[in-house]
C-alpha cells in the first residue's frame, strides 16, 4: 500500500510530560496528531479552522488552537492536553472540579477546550471579573449555551488563586 510516510518527517515534542518522537506528514495539524496518531481524543475538533476553540491546548504554557498549528513546527514544544491535567492518582485540576460543581457543561464536547482555555485565561491574568472572563473566553463556543456557568467556574478558580 502506498503511504504518505514518503513525505514524513520526524518531530519530537513533549505531550503531557512524555517525550514523543513521531514521524508525521507535513500537513498534519497538532490536533490531528493528538487525536489520530497519539490517540489523545480528549482534544476535540469542532471546526478545524480556528473559529470554535474546541481544540484548545497549552503549548509551552499558552493556550492555542491545535487545529491551526502544524505539528511539524512544534519541535521541542511542551504540549498539555486535557488528559494531562489529572494527576496520577486521578485528582482533578481545580478547574475540572469547578466545571463539575458549577455544571458548566451539558454535552461536554466543548468542555476540554473550555477548561484548557480557562486555565490559559487565568494564567494570563484575564479572569479578574465576570465581564473580563466573558470577553477572554469568547474564543470558545459552547452551543449548549453553558456560558454563565463557565464564567462561574473560571471565576471561582481565579479567585481561589488570589488572582
Amino acid at each position: 500500500m502506498p503511504n504518505s510516510s514518503a513525505e514524513g518527517r520526524a518531530v519530537s515534542l513533549t505531550v503531557n510530560g512524555v517525550l514523543r518522537v513521531v514521524e508525521i506528514d507535513e500537513r498534519t495539524s497538532l490536533l490531528d496528531l493528538l487525536r489520530e496518531r497519539l490517540h489523545l481524543t480528549g482534544t476535540k475538533k469542532g471546526c478545524d479552522a480556528g473559529a470554535c476553540g474546541a481544540c484548545t491546548v497549552l503549548v509551552d504554557g499558552a493556550r492555542v488552537n491545535a487545529c491551526l498549528n502544524l505539528a511539524i513546527r512544534l519541535q521541542d514544544a511542551e504540549v498539555t492536553t486535557v488528559e494531562g491535567l489529572t494527576t496520577g492518582d486521578g485528582d482533578l485540576h481545580p478547574l475540572q472540579r469547578a466545571f463539575i460543581d458549577r455544571d458548566a457543561f451539558q454535552c461536554g464536547y466543548c468542555t476540554p477546550g473550555q477548561i484548557m482555555s480557562g486555565i490559559g485565561c487565568i494564567r494570563e491574568g484575564r479572569a479578574g471579573s465576570r465581564a473580563e472572563i466573558r470577553e477572554w473566553m469568547s474564543g470558545n463556543i459552547c452551543r449548549c449555551g453553558c456560558y454563565p456557568r463557565i464564567v462561574d467556574a473560571v471565576r471561582h478558580v481565579a479567585a481561589g488563586e488570589g488572582a
Partner: protein
Amino acid sequence: MSTQPEVAVGRPHERVDGRLKVTGRATYAADHAIDDVVFAVLVDSSIGRGRISSIDTAAAEEEPGVLGVLGHHNAPTLPYEDNADGSYNPPGRRLRVFQDDQVHFFGQPVAVVLAESLEAAQHAAHLVEVTYHVERPSTDLSTAIGAEPVTYVRGDAEAALDPAPVRLDLTYGLARNHHNPMEPHATIARWDRGRLTVWDKTQWVGDGTQRELATVFGLSTDDVHIVSPCIGGAFGSALRCWPHVAVAALAARETGRAVKLVMARRQLYFGVGYRPAYEYRLRLGAHRDGRLIGALHDIRAETSSYETFTEEVMVPGQMLYRTPAVHQVYRTVPLDVNTPTYMRGPGYVSAVHVLETALDELAHEIGIDPIELRARNEPVADPATGLPFSTRRLQECFTIGARVFGWADRDPEPGSTRDGDQLVGTGVAAAVYNTARTGARAAVRVRADGTAVIQTATTDMGPGTATALTQVAADELGLDMHDVTVHLGDSDLPQAPPHGASTTMASVGSAVHDGAHRVRRSAAELAVGDPCSPLHGADPTDVVATGGRLHLARDPRRNDSYQALLTRNGRAWLEATGLYTPPAEETRSMHAYGAIFVEVGVDHRLGLIRIRRMLGVYDAGRIINPRLAESQAIGGMVGGIGTALLEHTVTDHRDGRIVNPNLADYLVPVNADVPNLTAIFLDGRDDHADPIGVKGIGEVVQIGIAPAIANAVFHATGRRVRTLPITIEAMI
C-alpha cells in the same frame, strides 16, 4: 404498594458522567479507538442542480495513501428498501448515495475519497474532478411557488376580521437556523461477517439509524448494531440518519475495513438538516379591550425538491390564546436545497415568535400592558381540541416573572429609557410546547452486591439523561445514586424512542420507573416469603426501600437489605423490564409553558443590541434535577439569542451555494453575548402526562426567547423589526 420516599429526585445532583466529560474520556462518535481505520472524506457537488457528467479520479488516486474513490460511477446498487415510517424520513424519495447522476442541491455528496491517512484523504478530495450538466437552481423562498397547502379552519376568520375594531396585518421573515452542535456529525463503520457495526452521532440508535441502515443495505435490523454513548450536542440534527452514514457503511463494505468519516463544519450546512426559513403573514382582529376575534395565518416554509418536511408550526396559533375564528394555510415550498429537519422547539419556535411579537404590537396599538393582554385572552380549555388542560400555569408564570423582573416599574413608552449610550427596553413573551410521550422499555437489574444496572437504548445529547434516569431508578429501588449505573446509547439495549422533542424523561423515565418498581416488588415478595427475612410474613405492599434496605413503611426496624436477601436466596440478581405505553387517546391538553422577560440595550449610534438580563419562568411539571434543568433553560435562552440576533444563512441564488457555512460567518452566541440568565421552574407535577409527572424541558426553553428579545428591542427603540435575525443594519 407503599410509595417510595423522594430522596434523589428533585435534588440538584451533579452529573453522573461529569468526571468523564471534564477529563476528556467521554467517547463521542469520532473518538472510538477502532483499529486500522480508513479515513473517508466526502466530495460535495459544486453546483446547485443538474447532473454529473463525469468523475475523474485519476489525480486523486495517485495521491500517496489513497485507496480509492467511490461515486455513482463505480458504486454498487443498494437496495434502499422503503422506510417511509421510520427514521424521521419525511414523505418523498430520500437521497440514495451514489445511486444516480442527479444533483439536487449544492453540496450534495457526489463521491468519497478513502485513504490511509486523514491528510491524504482531505488533499485527494480536492483532486477529484467532477463535471456537470448545470441547471439553474431555485433556492429563493420569496419567489418560488408553494405546494398544495395544509389548512386549518375554525369559524370564519375572514368574515370575523372584517368588522374587527382593531386589525393588524403583519408579514414576517424568519431565517433558516442550523443546529451547529459543537461535535460535527461523524460515523465509524465496520462489517464483521455480514453484521454492520456503526459508531455514530445519533439521537436514535434503534428504529432511527439502525432501521435506516438496515433498509439501505437490505439487512435484518439484527444485523445492524449502532453505538452512540455520548453525543456532543445535536438539537435535532442527529434524529435522522443522513446520507453520510450510509456512505461510511458502504465504504467499509467496499474496502473490507473500518471506515471513519467525520464531516467538516462546512458540510454540516448541507449534509444534515436545519430549521427551515419561513415567510409568515398573520392578520389579527381584536376588540378594543384586546380580546382576539380572529386570526388568519399564511405560512410558507422551505423544503427540498425530493422530500416534504413539515413541522408543528400550526399548533400554537390554534391553542395558545382564546381565538374564536382561526384560518391557517401552511404551504411548503420545494427548493433545490437539502431537506430541513427538526431543530430544538420545532415549529413552535417559529410560530410563537410570530404570535408573541404580534400580540406585543396589539398591546401597543390599543395601549394596554402586554401581560394584561395575554391574561384577557387566556382560554379555559384548549381552544383547538376543547380538552381541559392537564396544567396550564401560564398566567402564574407571568405573575411571578413580573414580580421577580420588576415589570411594574416599566414605562410603557418606547424609547423612554436610557443608560449612557444605550437605549434600554424590556419585553415579554409566552412559551409553549406540546408534552409528547412515546412507548419505551428499560431493563432494570438489582445485583446481589446491592448495586443496580439500568439499560435502555435512549441517548444523551447533553441534558443529562443518564443522571436523571439514575435519580428516578435510585428512588424507586431505594438505592443510593452511586449504586446505580445507567447504560444507554446502544441499539442492543431495550428499545427507546428518539431522544428528542422533550419526550425522553416522560417516556424513558417512566419505563425506568416501572422497571424499578417491578424489581422492588419482586424483592419485597421474595422477602416476605423468606422465613429467614426480618420481613417474613409481612404484607409486601407495606414494604418500601431506602439506602439499599427493604423495610416496612411504618416500621423501619423491620428491614432486610437487597444484598442479604439475594445472597441468602442464592439469587445473582433480580430483574424486570420496565414499560411505558402512552394512552391511546388523550383526555387532556398537555403542554409545558413559560413566560420570558428580557431587557436589552441598543447603542443609539452603533445599533449594537446587547442582552442585559433575561428571566424565564416555567410550568414544566416535575423537575427531576433542578441543576440540570436550569442549565438546559440557560442553554435554550442562549439558543434563542442566536435566533433573535445572530443566526442567518446566506444563500447565493445564482448557484445555490451557502456563502457562510462556517462558525466565523454564521454567527452563534459566544460568551461575551450572554449575561447572567435566570430560570425559575414552578413547583409542581403533571400527573396526567406520565407516571413520573414530568412535561419535558428541552424544547420549551428555546421557545419565546426570540420574540421577548424582539419586543424588548421595540420598547428600547420604537423600531419594529419583523425579520429574524434582528441585525445591526436594521437598527441604523
